[in-house]
């Protein structure tokens, strides 16, 4: 067994060596540095295209998904080795998407064979880009109060309502959307629908963020016709009608893991060593960074432990909430410190030297980490209730 794994490791290593272009081993600097796929996608460079295609053909865009759904069918132990070898050469993810992080895991768990064949393959091959239609203006933390309504018309629904904060809705091809199908039943009256954003009646309006970018939108549904089926064994909803809340919650667990990992979690190097002006740091700032590194490097161990336990089906099911909370709070702190280390140069908003305000804009963007995918307060509420079993509402 151990020998097999070592054999696997050396195979992966030489495959990466041969297939990952040098350019794809540089740190990700902006969103376009990672390929997101979709009908209207374009590659930023030849290297990006080459890297994506090599991974896609090998199933490495989603290494642990079964081969028949576009993955490489790696075991948990192999998956871990794959991630370690990717990290060792600093390889960029070949493909990023909400399909991979969110919808995919939900389909693997709840989907029909027909849905898996179609949608998982489309995701793994980067053909369809998905967005997440959960939040509404009046329903954020209290998501289950959502009102977007689908009226049953026999073989289809007519959907009306509004979603908000829909990340990349203006670039996405399809949406996985929570729609109320029973007004009498709060938890058991929501259906997890899948539909094409090109359907008549779907429109989006970008919202400008404080970072100056605009990756999220208001999404309007105005008499949108959603068929109940896309073909044999391909229903237009995941799980059962009116049981979408179970799917929604399952998916949120994965979303939270993903967000915590992009947080303070997956970095092996210390913060002090990545700031360029190490020698000149004020002593108190240096101490503050060292304290951050203590927390961040410890958190990295927690993430690893969590992943190992997850694959072995151990650990408390509500733990992703703890990781999401801790990881995102750390990431915000990290960026506060990067701003402090950068000084007045980091304040620059659009100069060439600052890469168009890279440090400042990233700092502002991280403030959303503890809001998106469920706020820190909601995470703490879940921990208190589900893990600590504290009494009360």
């Amino acid at each position: 067994m151990a020998d097999d794994l070592e054999q696997f490791r050396s195979e992966v290593r030489s495959w990466l060596e041969a297939n990952c272009p040098e350019e794809m081993r540089q740190p990700v600097r902006d969103e376009r540095d990672v390929y997101w796929g979709g009908r209207n996608a374009s590659f930023k460079s030849d290297a990006q295209k080459q890297w994506f295609e090599a991974c896609r053909d090998k199933g490495y865009t989603v290494p642990e998904w079964p081969k028949e759904y576009g993955g490489a069918g790696l075991s948990p132990a192999e998956g871990k080795i794959f991630r370690q070898e990717m990290a060792a050469i600093n390889a960029r993810p070949p493909l990023s998407s909400f399909g991979i992080w969110m919808l995919g895991p939900a389909l693997l768990h709840f989907g029909t064979e027909g849905q898996k064949q179609r949608f998982l393959n489309e995701i793994a091959r980067g053909e369809i880009r998905w967005c997440q239609g959960y939040s509404e203006p009046g329903s954020g933390s209290d998501l289950v109060s959502m009102q977007t309504y689908g009226e049953d018309k026999g073989d289809h629904w007519i959907v009306n309502g509004q979603k908000i904060w829909t990340s990349y809705a203006d670039e996405a091809d399809w949406i996985f959307c929570l729609v109320r199908t029973d007004k009498e039943n709060k938890y058991q009256g929501i259906t997890f629908m899948l539909f094409d954003m090109e359907n008549q009646g779907v429109s989006t309006k970008p919202i400008l963020l404080i970072s100056g970018n605009s990756p999220f939108c208001e999404t309007f549904m105005d008499d949108v016709k959603v068929p109940k089926s896309y073909g044999e064994d391909i229903p237009a909803y995941v799980g059962e009608v009116n049981r979408g809340w179970d799917v929604a919650k399952y998916l949120l667990g994965h979303e939270r893991e993903m967000i915590s990992a992009t947080g303070g979690g997956d970095r092996a190097s210390s913060l002090g060593s990545v700031t360029s002006r190490q020698g000149e740091l004020d002593p108190v700032l240096r101490a503050e960074m060292a304290m951050f590194d203590v927390d961040a490097l410890s958190f990295t161990a927690m993430s690893e432990k969590f992943m190992d336990e997850l694959k072995a089906n151990k650990g408390h099911p509500a733990q992703p909430n703890m990781l999401k909370y801790a990881g995102t709070e750390l990431n915000k702190r990290r960026h506060e410190l990067l701003m402090a280390a950068g000084g007045s140069a980091a304040l620059e908003w659009d100069s060439e030297e600052s890469g168009g305000g890279k440090t400042a804009r990233s700092w502002l963007r991280t403030k959303a980490n503890s809001i998106e995918g469920g706020t820190s307060e909601v995470m703490l509420n879940v921990i208190s209730k589900r893990i600590l079993e504290l009494p009360g509402g």
Binding site: S141, I164, I210, G212, V284, K332, A340
Partner: protein, 379 residues
């Protein structure tokens, strides 16, 4: 002296508050100029109104045509500036440069102060040479040349440098970069040849320049105070500026806190107003405590400065650091408690976060000043 505002100060606070709320409001000034990509980062019309209100020359001696007020009064105006995020050259011109000019010759004062008092002239200061505040190191060199000086070197983070009619420059006239002695301050007029401004927009939509001096010829009478005797004036200027920046920071903190508490009273989730959740109530109450404490130490530092106390230096650093912590907390809690809407450009809470960041950095952040507190306390 009691640590609250006397009747005159309370009246000043009322009129400054009303003025900034009406004339200096976010939509009227900050967003207005930002959305027009204004190269000054503030409105000259508003600056003239500052003059009419008597703000511009409030720290200038009565003999020089000013109001002869103190740092407590300047702090009152700055707090209102902070609350409304009003962009203006007040801190750099009326606090920092005006403090330096107090030490200037009769000639210098009569050349520059009338324009300031009227709100026609804009000043700035050029101290730091790198991305972090470090006034100990002055590498810019002013060498004797004829009756005057030749200035060479580079300065960074010069607030609205390209818009300033006069810039107070800290330069070295003897010794080496890190020496305490050998520093001289110069009042450098705008169009002197050999000056180059590289203007940058900052995160809070204000402007700052990287400014370089290439054989800039200065008259001997551009010297503020004595040749080689600039360190003490520089320190006085820095203390005044730090207390001023702290006062503005208190205003930013209060503005952000007020908006947030308001939002807690309006937004409903789970069939309740979110302000009903004790998890948020305690944090709002904690924030209130921190902001009140920060405000108290800022008034204290301003009073000590006005009284010429030897503890003023220490308390200026305490105030700058404490306000940075409290205002940082206020803007972070503000965005977080607004949820998704806090991340949008449409809402003002993010603007408070941006302004706070720039203010934190100006004249030393909390880490710099905590270190200074340790040093001044002898450990």
């Amino acid at each position: 002296m009691p640590l609250y505002h006397d009747d005159d100060q309370a009246m000043l606070a009322d009129s400054a508050s009303q003025f900034m709320r009406e004339e200096g409001a976010i939509n009227k000034q900050l967003r207005h100029w930002r959305d027009r990509d204004c190269k000054d980062g503030f409105g000259h019309g508003l600056w003239e109104q500052f003059g009419e209100m008597g703000f511009t020359g409030m720290l200038v001696d009565e003999d020089d045509g000013g109001l002869g007020m103190g740092h407590v009064e300047a702090a009152i105006v700055l707090e209102e500036i902070g609350r409304n995020l009003t962009p203006s050259p007040f801190l750099a011109s009326s606090v920092l440069a005006a403090t330096a000019l107090k030490h200037g010759s009769e000639d210098l004062r009569s050349r520059w102060l009338p324009g300031l008092i009227e709100g026609k002239s804009v000043f700035t200061v050029a101290i730091d040479e790198g991305p972090k505040h470090n006034p100990q190191r002055i590498g810019c060199k002013a060498e004797k040349s004829g009756n005057g000086f030749k200035l060479n070197g580079k300065k960074a983070f010069v607030l609205h440098g390209a818009s300033a009619d006069m810039m107070v420059v800290a330069a070295r006239t003897s010794g080496s970069d890190d020496d305490t002695d050998g520093v001289t301050l110069f009042a450098v007029p705008k169009d002197t040849s050999g000056i180059e401004h590289d203007a940058r927009r900052l995160v809070d939509s204000s402007m700052a320049t990287h400014t370089s001096f290439d054989d800039v010829e200065l008259d001997g009478d551009a010297v503020i105070g004595e040749v080689d005797g600039g360190r003490e004036i520089l320190n006085a200027m820095l203390d005044a500026g730090r207390v001023g920046a702290a006062a503005e920071g208190v205003g930013v903190a209060r503005g952000a806190m007020d908006m947030t508490v308001d939002y807690l009273k309006q937004r409903k989730q789970f069939g309740k107003t979110i302000g009903e959740f004790q998890a948020l109530q305690h944090r709002a109450a904690h924030l209130y405590a921190e902001v009140e404490i920060a405000r108290a130490v800022t008034i204290k530092a301003a009073q000590l400065l006005d009284g010429g106390s030897e503890k003023a230096e220490l308390m200026a650093s305490v105030a700058k650091a404490k306000v940075a912590k409290a205002a940082g907390l206020a803007v972070r809690e503000g965005v977080q408690m607004h949820g998704g809407i806090g991340m949008t450009d449409e809402y003002d809470i993010g603007l408070y976060m941006k302004r706070d960041r720039a203010l934190q950095e100006f004249l030393g952040d909390q880490y710099y000043h905590a270190e200074r507190v340790a040093q001044l306390s002898g450990y």
